[in-house]
Subunit: 341 residues, 2 copies
């Protein structure tokens, strides 16, 4: 049977109800535009995999009831950070579709998207402050800085299909995997309460858990982003919920293109340079790009690379005792590299 | 003798040297563009009044040596938050001049300005985390949320010269005064250590100090912004270091215009509606706007309003024992409503 998010969704159903009310509550403001704009994105229904990671990680670490409430706040904070980066990304990419809907900047303009992103980022820190755990704050503020570094590096490799694989990995670690890693690690950190931990795990494993969750989240995030990048050239728009070929139109340098460029002949390299490199894209160019990607089989090869990272993610949690939380997280990793949505 | 910033500058000279090294140190990144872009703004030399407020407030509260190091970190964090908002403002305003220099977005593009702003904001929180004081973190994250609310509200009153004065005050409190208030209050909060406080102040005053510093900063910030708004129609470009008439060109609703609109006849109201309201601005319109502002004497009247808030700021600190820090802060308030630079 195909891997699925169903187990982690079922496991975190109650927690996510709490997270969703926090999200709705904390996007309120006397300035009506803020809940309108933020609500548009929130209601457009991402999978909310990041907050689920925080909740399931806290469960795996054996949360106390108090930790449960704090984990929900952290999970909402993680989703706010993610939502803020999406708002700013859409400004940067000049996208007008995301998750099958018009983007906020297309409706309300860039100014409002920049500022509401800033608002959600500030709200995320207010939520983290309420948990009273300054170590978690440190972890998530560091992740936030790294996200922006990844996004800036992404601008710098844009239009360069000859980019080194290490630079590509560095970009997707920054822009995606750091927040997955921090989301999972923060769940593990907040669930502490030595008593809770001692009840479920022996001490050596105890101390290792937040770090293992961090490594798990990092590998999972890499798998998730490579899959996303591969499907951008493949899935039809209704399935993926964004415009197919967006990455091509924006000159984004992603793995399927880098592989096709690397293995291409001089004509093919010239094609990638003209289109992705120089932004000179005309009718039929997206179809030709997809044909070259099919010729070199780079969607499958990218997905194989994603699977390798997903397996590494699973291995991070394998040493810990089986539990619904651990097993749900492990299956989520398998799903990340196989998802068709 | 005219009020001056010289006393607070002299008082915080050593501290600001520490703050400046923290700023230079923490804007570093493996991504070269970040220190380049951030350094451009930092080097363009604002007055850094906000971090000076934090340092002088900590002094006034009787800082311990440990608190001194933490106050420098907080002061740098406050300047990072301010710099981040400037970067995002310039994207929103489409400005290409600030402090007499080209803006970052004019040189590097909007994308980089949005992302480096986000980076500095995240770095600000990392610095605050290092102080270990979660109450200060709460205060500054709340201020950050309010800044964005003020900026969004500013977009909403743009082009509306008939705006209510309460709405204008709400905008400038959000976009400017909240950070002044949090900068001063945070200095007072971090300097605690009950011993330090008890050495310098009696207990009742002690407990009241952070709150008094908050009220002081709030009133000072209002005075500062009203003065800035008034001088935008008055000072020549070299003195103010920005383009005179920027606010007019951007359709910003500020006090001198609101007063001139309120007191204007039907023709004058129609002029403001066409230019500031509808953005239909041609040759000679700025000069005509300035003539109307002179006719109704609204620069002087705005500056009188600023002085009223500056005096209120002074009164907040008057109950506390005289000290170089208190006196420097009080003179800074007088300066805020008289500055010609």
């Amino acid at each position: 049977m195909a891997a699925s998010l169903d187990p982690i969704i079922a496991l975190t159903r109650d927690g996510m109800t709490a997270v969703n009310s926090i999200i709705v509550d904390r996007m309120q403001s006397e300035i009506d535009l803020i809940p309108q704009l933020a609500g548009h994105l929130v209601a457009s229904g991402g999978k909310r995999i990041r907050p689920m990671l925080t909740l399931a990680s806290a469960m795996m670490a054996g949360e106390t009831p108090e930790a449960k409430a704090n984990a929900a706040k952290l999970a909402a904070a993680v989703e706010f950070i993610h939502t803020a980066t999406l708002l700013h990304d859409d400004v940067i990419d000049e996208s007008n579709m995301r998750r099958g809907q018009q983007t906020a900047n297309a409706i309300w303009g860039n100014e409002a998207s920049v500022l509401v992103g800033d608002f959600l980022f500030a709200r995320a820190f207010e939520l983290m402050v309420e948990t009273g755990n300054i170590h978690v704050l440190g972890r998530l503020s560091n992740a936030s800085a790294r996200i922006t570094e990844g996004e800036i590096q992404q601008l710098m490799i844009a239009g360069k299909p000859d980019t080194d694989i290490d630079d590509y990995l560095s970009v997707i670690i920054g822009k995606t995997a750091e927040l997955f890693a921090a989301a999972a690690e923060a769940g593990g950190m907040i669930a502490g309460g030595d008593d809770a931990l001692n009840n479920t795990l022996n001490n050596a494993l105890n101390n290792a858990l937040p770090n293992a969750l961090k490594d798990y989240g990092m590998a999972l995030g890499i798998a998730f982003q490579i899959t996303d990048d591969a499907l951008d050239y493949d899935a039809d728009e209704t399935r993926l919920g964004k415009n197919v070929g967006d990455d091509f139109a924006e000159g984004k340098t992603t793995l399927p293109v880098m592989m096709a460029y690397h293995d291409g002949d001089a004509d093919e390299k010239a094609f990638w340079q003209r289109t992705l490199g120089d932004g000179d894209i005309g009718d039929g160019d997206l179809a030709h790009a997809q044909a070259l990607i099919t010729k070199h089989d780079t969607i499958s090869r990218s997905l194989a690379e994603a699977r390798r990272h997903a397996e590494a993610a699973e291995q991070c949690l394998a040493p810990f005792p089986a539990s619904p939380a651990r097993d749900g997280l492990m299956e989520a990793a398998r799903f990340a590299a196989s998802r068709a949505v």
